[in-house]
């Protein structure tokens, strides 16, 4: 165990493997986190170079996402993500090449055929459900998926993610209520980064923890340090196990940091104190987890360098692949409006 110092507040990042995780799983977790971060950073570079009109980031959310993803079984569970969930969709099998095709809106983009902005993940093959931009609509879809899974006597858990801002929407309320009435196998995962674009949490709700809403629906609610992938894994695993066992839904809130502006269209200097951002950066979950893994002897500098080199190569390949891909043919515009 390591005490991580983030400006006075002692935050713990565990690197010991809990139920169901081996030490090599911890390293895999770390790899997914670095992959997500590195891919995201490359996307910003492409954006700043004028090649990608839009990027929306996972930076600061990686530990929460990857910790959560490890509690799921991508071959049978269903992920209903939101736009920051790069870390989760990578774990579910979307490849850097596929994601770069999506970023650059090229032909063959499996998430939307170049129709949606980047960050609108979806892939039937990978059990990742197509998403839209209006926030929080997806939580109802996850609920419906869980309803169908339960009805079909499947062993499936539906996992859905939403920002704390999205919890203000009526759909969030309706989904939790419906899921709890029917004790559905669904987990609601709130990635609370304290902002909805520029609106700070205190203007979004009069409570400190979104998870406190769970009681009002008759389901368990947990708030977890979203900078600690193992802590997130632990509560996620408990929720997933409960859902699979017929125990119904859980609301999990992971406290995370948004380390970038809201998106490449945003400039957060008008509304975010640079000091605050600095403090958030000091809690970078990747730095934290890396330090913890090293402290525990689970990861060495050499291994880390190796991982990063492999990931860099993968991302270089993906970038090149996507840059060389053609745009969709204009005639594709009219396809897939109706199925019959």
């Amino acid at each position: 165990m390591k005490q991580f110092d983030s400006g006075g507040v002692g935050i713990e990042t565990r690197a010991t493997a809990p139920k169901g995780l081996t030490e090599s799983d911890l390293v895999r977790m770390y790899e997914y986190m670095v992959l997500a971060r590195s891919l995201d950073e490359r996307m910003w570079l492409l954006n700043r170079a004028g090649q990608a009109p839009f990027v929306i980031s996972c930076q600061g959310h990686e530990a929460a996402q990857v910790g959560a993803a490890f509690s799921l079984q991508p071959e049978k569970d269903v992920l209903v993500p939101y736009y920051r969930d790069l870390g989760m969709v990578l774990y579910f099998g979307l490849t850097p090449r596929e994601l770069m095709l999506s970023l650059l809106a090229r032909k063959g983009d499996p998430t939307s055929a170049g129709r949606q902005m980047p960050g609108h993940y979806g892939s039937r093959k990978h059990n990742v459900i197509t998403g839209s931009s209006p926030v929080a609509t997806q939580v109802l879809h996850a609920t419906g998926i869980a309803l169908a899974a339960k009805y079909r006597r499947e062993d499936t858990v539906a996992w859905t993610c939403v920002g704390e801002g999205g919890t203000s929407q009526g759909d969030f309320h309706e989904a939790l209520n419906f899921a709890s009435i029917h004790r559905l196998p669904v987990v609601f995962f709130v990635e609370n980064n304290g902002y909805a674009i520029s609106v700070p949490q205190r203007k979004q709700m009069a409570i400190e923890n979104v998870a406190d809403r769970a009681a009002g629906y008759g389901m368990p609610g947990v708030t977890v340090d979203g900078g600690d992938p193992v802590a997130v894994y632990t509560v996620a695993r408990e929720a997933v196990d409960r859902a699979r066992a017929g125990g119904g839904p859980t609301l999990i809130e992971a406290k995370v940091q948004r380390l970038t502006a809201h998106s490449s269209d945003d400039d957060d200097r008008t509304y975010r104190d640079p000091e605050e951002l600095k403090a958030e950066r000091a809690q970078d979950p990747i730095v934290r987890f890396r330090a913890a893994l090293m402290e525990q002897g689970v990861l060495t500098e050499a291994q880390d360098a190796d991982i990063r080199a492999r990931i860099k190569a993968q991302i270089d390949d993906a970038t090149e692949f996507a840059e060389q891909a053609p745009y969709p043919d204009p005639a594709e515009l009219m396809l897939h409006v109706y199925g019959s």
């Binding site: 197509t130 839209s132 109802l140 609920t143 169908a148 009805y151 209520n177």
Partner: protein, 328 residues
């Protein structure tokens, strides 16, 4: 062939289809023991149980949103919105989700849901239990919208809708439920989505209508024919999106005169698109203005009987328009 009320044709079709395909579930407010406030789903819960006939909380967005999710996971949900007037909270789920899932995923996902809902007035339902909002939906690519009023059409279109790979809004005129009775073929007959029906052939003028106004139109057509021997063709659109261009344009080519009739407000109603279509694609055949008889420009139908009557188009108002048109 059995003769059935509209409501029974719909209910029987639900029973038959649910027996044949256990992917079909029904969900909505009061659809269980109450059998729906109009009793369209009466008895379903007894045969199919609470898992397939789900009384939902009072929240339309969740009714549609959950149906979408269930469809994404292999079911064929038939959602009920208790009154068309109460569909607005579900607008986002219908327009931004259901209608766009196929397109936004490049065909990777689809959304085979049916949303059934009673619409229309003339039953003292007042401003919020009488609305005809179909044109709020017919503008949306990705959606299909049907409004059968004849029991056989309703049975056939409901069957098509349930097995259609796209989201279908299925509109049931609440005044017609227990008023319209007709023969309904057995053995799972279907009516294709997207096909209008010429319910009465004629050569001098075409009336295009749907819903309860079809019957007012027929009455007006017959009255005119008796009065002066004019020959009036009457078309029941049945499907409001996609429109059956072929049937519409063929009729206009034949008669050259068109009157569109619906209960919904006139401005921006389904009739606007029908008129625009004709004005664009059949102009050379037109012998007179494209007229519309429709609900007046007030927010909805009032409760008080004289006001409700004043709102509703009827055979008399249609007849007057027909005579105006004949004068061209």
């Amino acid at each position: 062939m059995a003769t059935k009320l509209l409501i029974d044709a719909i209910r029987d079709t639900l029973f038959e289809e649910m027996r044949g395909d256990d992917r079909i579930i029904v969900l909505g407010e009061d659809v269980g023991k109450r059998g729906g406030v109009f009793r369209v789903t009466a008895g379903l819960i007894d045969e199919f149980g609470e898992e397939r006939v789900i009384d939902t909380p009072l929240a339309e967005s969740s009714i549609v949103g959950v149906a979408i999710g269930a469809a994404l996971h292999g079911l064929l949900p038939v959602a009920e919105i208790q009154f068309f007037d109460f569909i607005h909270p579900a607008m986002d789920q219908i327009m931004n989700e259901a209608a766009k899932i196929r397109y936004r995923s490049g065909g990777d996902f689809d959304c085979p849901i049916v949303i059934r809902t009673p619409y229309g007035g003339g039953v003292h339902g007042a401003l919020y239990h009488s609305q005809s909002l179909e044109s709020a939906f017919t503008r949306e690519p990705g959606l299909k919208v049907v409004a059968p009023v004849n029991p056989a059409d309703a049975a056939g279109l409901l069957r098509s809708a349930i097995h259609d790979p796209d989201p279908v809004l299925f509109l049931e005129h609440k005044k017609a439920y227990r008023l319209i009775r007709d023969e309904v073929p057995e053995n799972g007959h279907t009516v294709p989505i997207g096909k209008a029906k010429v319910v009465k052939e004629g050569s001098d003028v075409t009336i295009i209508s749907y819903g309860m106004m079809l019957y007012e139109s027929l009455a007006a057509a017959n009255a005119l024919e008796e009065k002066d021997g004019s020959s009036v063709e009457v078309i029941d659109l049945r499907t409001l999106r996609p429109l059956d261009k072929e049937t519409i344009l063929a009729s206009v080519a034949k008669t050259g005169k068109v009157l569109i009739v619906h209960e919904a407000n006139k401005v921006g109603g389904v009739g606007a698109e029908v008129a625009a279509l004709i004005a664009e694609e059949a102009f050379p055949y037109l012998d007179g203005p494209i007229m519309r008889v429709a609900g007046p420009e007030v927010p909805a139908m009032p409760f008080s009987p004289p006001l409700e009557q004043a709102y509703l188009p009827n055979a008399e108002k249609i007849g007057a328009a027909l005579e105006q048109l004949a004068a061209f």
